[in-house]
């Protein structure tokens, strides 16, 4: 526990210091990392702890992002205040998905959520009166955008727009991290893991499995909604292409990279989603205008990690000298 507190303290310190040596461009990149981080935290709650897979978390991000965009552009709500609303809307939709998901186990759930992520862009295009269709909604320069209608000052210093985005995203990111941490350490988290490891045993111990599984879906989707909302605020634009099926799949890669769904690893996953393209383009002979190599390496990373999983579990069991139940 003490190790974790120290790690947490160092992490927060690093987040505060980081923008100073970095350029404005890198600062806003890190803000985007924060949006992915929050969405992956949500996926960790769902897949890592309640054992329900979602290949459609990009869709919940889209719900959050579009909620923010529509409120900002059509209803004059300031970007900041759209974030909790985005969380509520995405969370409510998460609960609606979670209820039929109770009847779907394992890969049927993977299939259904995959379907949602594939279908969502077509639905966004269909209801173009609300969503702007394929063109999407531009938020840049809207009076509701912080930095245009409002000026942010911290300790007498005006923040640049990108600094503000970074501060906003990571403040929310750290707060939500603590929320997840406490949540998973509570009765709620223990019940989720009990249901994950054995529904039968959990039910026999008086855990209402349906309530917990649906609640996990709701919480997880709400997190993704916040992530999507922040992504929309960061890039000041949403369109169906902001939330393609690839985003959902990359979030899963991110969650797996982060120590197979540990909330501490979410940061690694989020960094990977943002910076793997840059990394791949460093490799000689790879054309940096090509999308293919990056996609290939995303998949390769996931395959290698899944192949390593049995060894890592065995290693973990050896090191800690106890059985490791998460594999079951």
């Amino acid at each position: 526990m003490r190790v974790k507190l120290i790690a947490f303290g160092l992490g927060v310190l690093a987040l505060i210091v980081l923008p100073f040596p970095l350029s404005d461009f890198h600062t806003v990149q890190l803000a985007t990392v924060g949006a992915y981080f929050i969405a992956i935290l949500g996926l960790d709650v769902l897949t890592g702890n309640s054992g329900q897979i979602s290949l459609g978390h990009g869709a919940f991000m889209a719900v959050g992002g579009y909620t923010t965009a529509i409120l900002m552009s059509d209803h004059g709500v300031r970007d900041l205040w759209t974030i909790p609303i985005a969380a509520l809307v995405a969370g409510a939709i998460g609960v609606l998905v979670g209820i039929p998901a109770l009847r779907l186990s394992g890969f049927y759930l993977a299939l259904a959520t995959f379907g949602i992520a594939v279908v969502l862009p077509t639905i966004l295009k269909k209801f173009d009166g609300l969503t702007g269709g394929s063109t999407g909604i531009t938020l840049f320069g809207k009076p509701t955008q912080t930095g245009h209608g409002f000026q942010v000052t911290i300790l007498g210093r005006h923040l640049t727009n990108n600094e503000w985005l970074y501060a906003l995203t990571w403040t929310i990111g750290v707060v939500l991290f603590v929320v997840v941490w406490l949540l998973l350490d509570s009765r709620f988290g223990r019940s989720l893991r009990a249901v994950r490891d054995s529904e039968l045993a959990a039910a026999a111990s008086g855990v209402n499995r349906s309530t917990y599984k649906v609640a996990a879906f709701g919480v997880s989707a709400a997190f993704a909604g916040v992530g999507g909302s922040l992504l929309a605020i960061n890039v000041a634009y949403v369109s169906p292409d902001t939330f393609p099926i690839q985003l959902s799949l990359y979030l899963l890669v991110g969650a797996v990279v982060g120590f197979y769904g540990s909330i501490w690893g979410a940061i690694i996953g989020a960094l990977l989603i943002q910076f793997l393209p840059d990394l791949v383009h460093q490799v000689p002979h790879i054309d940096s205008k090509q999308a293919g190599p990056t996609t290939f390496f995303f998949g390769a990373v996931l395959i290698v990690l899944m192949l390593l999983l049995p060894f890592l579990l065995r290693l973990g069991a050896l090191l800690t000298n106890r059985g490791y139940s998460r594999a079951q």
Partner: protein, 293 residues
């Protein structure tokens, strides 16, 4: 009325493609209990291989034959190298691995062949033939016939050959199959190989009517899932009938329900998946899995 028949005919043609890919999914699901999310991308890869051979001056049929052989070997190799090490672990692990495969193969194809759509000249003419006001092409007929023939071949293989018996035994009870001398790991590899062959057939059939590009089968995969779920995940004949029914249904809904139109066909497929899974999880022809607790 002519329009109605027209929609049914072209629905059957797309349904044949969905059915072939659905059959591939069902084969792997039956023999290993895994849903292969990479099946669509593997089918596209096969189509690209066929296209490359033709591009290098091969005639269609030799190129198609070579593609079938390569796809079989490739499918078996993937099972042996990637799936086998973790197949005894949690099912979700294998599913996530196939998702990795989906992403990697998609990236690889974009890397090699680029993202632009390619014209793929199939063996059948796409020029319309007019019969009593209903227009269809040789391509449409070819797709329906080839998908039905491949189902028949798969059925014969499973029901009438010793290899098929071994495949079924390995799927139903690996432990006892091993005791009676069935080489179970070999059977699983053959299962993946056969699925890759069906995928190749679907990919090559689909390529002339769609443009050949790395994402070609992504939506088709969802239709194939819907077809497989509708027919029952463990029923090969169900997968094909599911595919044909879905193809016709999507066309009719797209034509006669104006609110759906062409754009929401994917949503209809998703509704079919969710509806069947919730109301009748075994599908039309599947068997209800009984779980011992």
């Amino acid at each position: 009325m002519a329009n109605f028949i027209q929609q049914v005919v072209s629905g059957l043609a797309s349904g044949g493609i969905y059915g072939s890919l659905a059959l591939a999914l069902v084969l792997i699901h039956r023999s290993t209990g895994v849903l292969n999310f990479a099946q669509g991308e593997l089918a596209t890869l096969s189509a690209f291989i066929c296209w490359s051979l033709i591009d290098h001056g091969w005639a269609f049929w030799p190129a198609f034959g070579a593609t079938i052989v390569l796809s079989f070997l490739g499918g078996a190799a993937i099972q042996q190298t990637l799936i086998r090490p973790i197949q005894d672990g949690p099912v979700l692990g294998v599913v996530i691995l196939t998702i990795g495969l989906l992403i990697a193969v998609n990236g690889l194809m974009t890397w090699i062949w680029g993202g632009a759509g390619k014209q793929f000249a199939g063996p059948f003419s796409t020029a319309p033939i007019n019969v009593g006001g209903v227009a269809f092409s040789k391509q449409d007929i070819g797709v329906i016939v080839i998908s039905l023939v491949s189902v028949l071949l798969i059925w014969l293989l499973f029901a009438r050959t010793k290899l098929g018996l071994g495949l079924r035994a390995a799927a139903v009870n690996p432990a006892e199959a091993r005791l009676t001398g069935v080489r179970v790991p070999m059977m699983l590899a053959v299962g993946w190989g056969l699925a890759a062959v069906l995928g190749a057939v679907a990919g090559v059939l689909a390529a002339p009517s769609l443009f050949l590009e790395p994402n070609m089968m992504q939506t088709v995969l969802l239709y194939a899932f819907a077809a497989a779920v509708l027919g029952g995940m463990d029923s090969p004949i169900g997968a094909v009938i599911g595919g044909l029914v879905l193809g016709v249904l999507l066309n009719l809904v797209g034509t006669y329900v104006h609110w759906v139109g062409g754009e929401l066909r994917l949503a209809v497929a998703l509704a079919v998946i969710l509806g069947v899974l919730i109301v009748r999880p075994a599908g039309l022809f599947g068997h209800t899995a009984v779980r011992r607790v």
